[in-house]
Symmetry: C2
Subunit: 241 residues, 2 copies
């Protein structure tokens, strides 16, 4: 409420956390709405998600500018510095998640015109899984909870596996009936978008871990996506990934 232009360093950090939290909430809601728009074939809702995207982009730029200003005017050290630099990374991951959610919404516009004859069940489940990951990541950021962040990190493998399995299933549907090709291709890209959202949530989890603990998480990031090597009917390509 105060009209002060001079804020204390703590207030500046608080402000930075607030922008990220608001941006996170916005992206969370976009992702949930995009999934709903797809399943319900709700064109108006899908359009709204697409139209909200520029706001998220603008917040990413706001974070960047704020970070550069903070670094220039204060000389943050250790944990504060990691938080400030980490915020820029997190905002950029959130911005990408917003883009992917908008793309899901765009593709659900086509799906509303060319409804596939396949169940939305698996892709909806995948959507819910990455929504949970994003939610827990944002909670972990708000509470500096490195352990919670790591629980997200470990869940990414399950999303990757779901994606690989969905990829094969969709290819098989396309083989069975050429009328499935257009809608299933869009479902394939929607699944890919969700998988990428999981990756970005995992990036954010890593950034939080580094900001809080001062070290990268130990070990390789678990990976379950073998779809790049998939042929339609579970063609047993020896996995190089």
């Amino acid at each position: 409420m105060a009209g002060h232009t001079v804020r204390s360093f703590d207030e500046e950090l608080r402000h930075l956390r607030d922008i990220i939290a608001r941006m996170g909430g916005m992206v969370e809601s976009q992702l949930a709405l995009a999934t709903t728009a797809m399943v319900k074939r709700d064109v108006a809702l899908a359009t709204r998600v697409v139209e909200t995207d520029p706001q998220v982009d603008a917040m990413d730029r706001e974070v960047s500018h704020h970070v550069v200003k903070l670094l220039a005017l204060r000389q943050p050290m250790a944990g504060d510095l990691r938080l400030i630099v980490g915020s820029m990374r997190i905002a950029s991951d959130l911005e990408r998640i917003g883009d992917y959610a908008a793309n899901v919404a765009k593709r659900s516009l086509v799906l509303a015109q060319n409804p596939p004859s396949v169940s939305y069940g698996p892709i909806e489940r995948m959507g819910r899984m990455v929504q949970e990951m994003l939610k827990d990541t944002l909670d972990a950021f708000a509470t500096d909870d490195a352990a919670k962040a790591m629980s997200v990190w470990r869940r990414d493998e399950a999303v990757d596996e779901m994606y690989s399995s969905l990829f094969r299933t969709l290819l098989t549907y396309m083989m069975e009936d050429p009328r499935n090709i257009t809608p299933c291709t869009h479902l394939l890209f929607i699944a890919k978008n969700l998988e990428r959202i999981g990756d970005h949530a995992t990036n954010i989890a890593e950034t939080i871990h580094f900001a809080v603990v001062g070290e990268e998480p130990e070990g390789e990031r678990p990976k379950g996506d073998t779809s790049s090597l998939a042929a339609a009917d579970v063609g047993g390509s020896s996995d190089a990934s």
Copy 2:
């Protein structure tokens, strides 16, 4: 050659620029090799590209650590600060480009097993286009050339348009012959990877512009990708993008 551990600030900045240049060169070569591996069905080459990816990831982390150290120990101002913070963004974009190149290589392993009955011509052209964009971006970074960076920025629209057109063509091939479905789906994702590489080169161009000039490029980023709204045979969906 000197064994000094204390470097001048200028030397530190020079070192940062060197890491980015080396990382850029590595990613450039990965992208070129991945495209060649695809066209020539060269399994050994594709495997090499996939195996190089962790090196690029390690360089991204090296840049982050170096940036955090520089920010903590020096108090960079204005242009130096923008360069330092921008380097972190550029490294992260390069890391993503490396990932996409590795994914092209992975998918070309499947394509070598399931060769599509379609010409590689258009996708090879798209590959060359984004290679040029990446090259010019790295040149612009090395010479602080904001105008050259902007020329890359403007070229992204053509890549998007190429991708949209390729997307429709590939869908049509899949409709014509179900045996095309598996290989053309991988080609579809390869095209998407190349389109994303174009986006990341464009991100880097924006970062260079900001680092050199101190301002974001003016105007909206030109966009030509309408594939999210595409049905197979140029289904005239009114474009919302």
